[in-house]
Amino acid sequence: MSKKIYQKPTINYINFAMASKYGSPLQTQKVRTEIDGVQISELTEKFGSPIFVFSEKTIEEKYHALHNAFSSRYNDVEFSWSYKTNYLNEICKIFHKLGSTAEVVSEFEYQKARANGVEGKDIIFNGPYKPKADLKIAVQEGAKIHVDNLFELNDLEEIADELNVKIPVAIRINMDTGVYPAWSRFGFNFESGEAYDAIKRMYDGGKVYLVGLHSHIGTFMLDANPYYMATKAIMHLKAQVENDFNAEIAYIDLGGGFASKSNLKGIYQSADVIVPTPDAYAEAITNAIYEFNKSEKLPKLYLETGRHLIDEAGFLLTSVWGYKRFGDGKKGYILDAGVNVLYTSTWYNFNIELDKRYEGENEPSMLNGPLCMNIDIIEEHIMLPPLDRGSVITISPVGAYNYTQAMQFIRYKPAVVLIDKDSNAKLIKEVDDLSTVNHKES
């Protein structure tokens, strides 16, 4: 006699208060069987688990949507790919192929951009810490230097003497845009006159001259209006500087900070409702340029958007290694990826999808990573059906910052796969091993 088909035994206390007009949380399952036409099972069988997977199709869609929103309103706009958001070479190259230059905040990112074929003149060098030796190389190669503080200005003046050149620079401005907390750590303050004084100091020195103004007002901005306020301040300063110092400000850079469709913890509405559209961001910035421009020539507009363009193109596939029952009745799943590779799990509630529909009622569960650390929690409260050992969970969106900030801690950093527009999956970064970890160690 053949045996009966097995299902894991489940028992769940029925809390009638859980039923609502939205239905029962005991039945709902989010399922994802493929990414861009490639089966999840095929990806983990071929490349292992855990793995990061990126979609070229989504990158292009996001890029074109945002670029069209700006270029349909403003002629001279250029995107500069934010290396810190994701500096996997193949990802950077996609953005460069689409027309992005590079925005870097360290010598290592600068070197990466150069190695990816970006010319110095097409690199924006930002950040509060630019050692003089690196700054000098960037100056020699014609990079766009965005000055953060007066020490950097002193270094630039020394470099100007050493190279016997006058150096074109931009400066970073911070201002009150109505956002709390205001980002005042970077650059020079507009309202206090600090920014104007710094520019005056530049022209008094006579060794550098101003060609650009830059601001970056925050991150995951859920309101487009602060960009209008920032652009207004920059355009006012531009007019003042052009008048007082006979400067020609060729470009303004409004930075990044545009939100992705991730769900911020503590926010009730879904990202689809609260994240501004590309058009909203574009309208805020371009309207302010037109409204407050006092020059004959409009400035070139740079944007350094990272998260908005890449976050939704990234997925993490992770497998169930085991499970246990906690003292409070919750089922705890041990996954092969944890907070070591999901830095943004601190702030975002990820979209968590199963590789198939599972039999059985959902029950309160917790997703834990593989680290021998109590803090390794990907999702503390989630309703899940009984999963099997080996079940694959897709976590998204994780394209922004997670790979670059992934820690080589306890586990090796995972492999990365890119799915191209023809649905070909290719390995773009192998999983680390002992030689990676021991490299340069005695």
Binding site: I5, P9, I11, I14, R325, G327
Partner: protein, 79 residues
């Protein structure tokens, strides 16, 4: 007394505790296990019987059965 022996099991996979007034959603195999509990079978006896009836390794069933009994314990249905 094991409170699980008080449970009334119906064809819609609802287990009802008539004294506490609590209802529980169960699946078919959970109903089989509770029926065996009501017959005073031990966990080891249940393991033997179900592994003979279902397409599952004894090792995996051991984990799942242990998990199920942990939950019964948390609900106060077994001691």
């Amino acid at each position: 007394m094991q409170q699980a022996t008080q449970l009334l099991l119906d064809e819609n996979n609802i287990a009802f505790h008539p004294i506490w007034g609590n209802s529980y959603q169960v699946n078919d195999i959970a109903k089989d296990i509770l029926t065996l509990v009501k017959q005073d079978k031990t966990k080891d006896e249940i393991l033997e019987q179900l592994s003979a009836e279902y397409e599952i390794s004894k090792e995996e069933l051991f984990i799942d059965l242990g998990d199920f009994f942990s939950k019964l314990k948390i609900y106060g249905l077994v001691s």
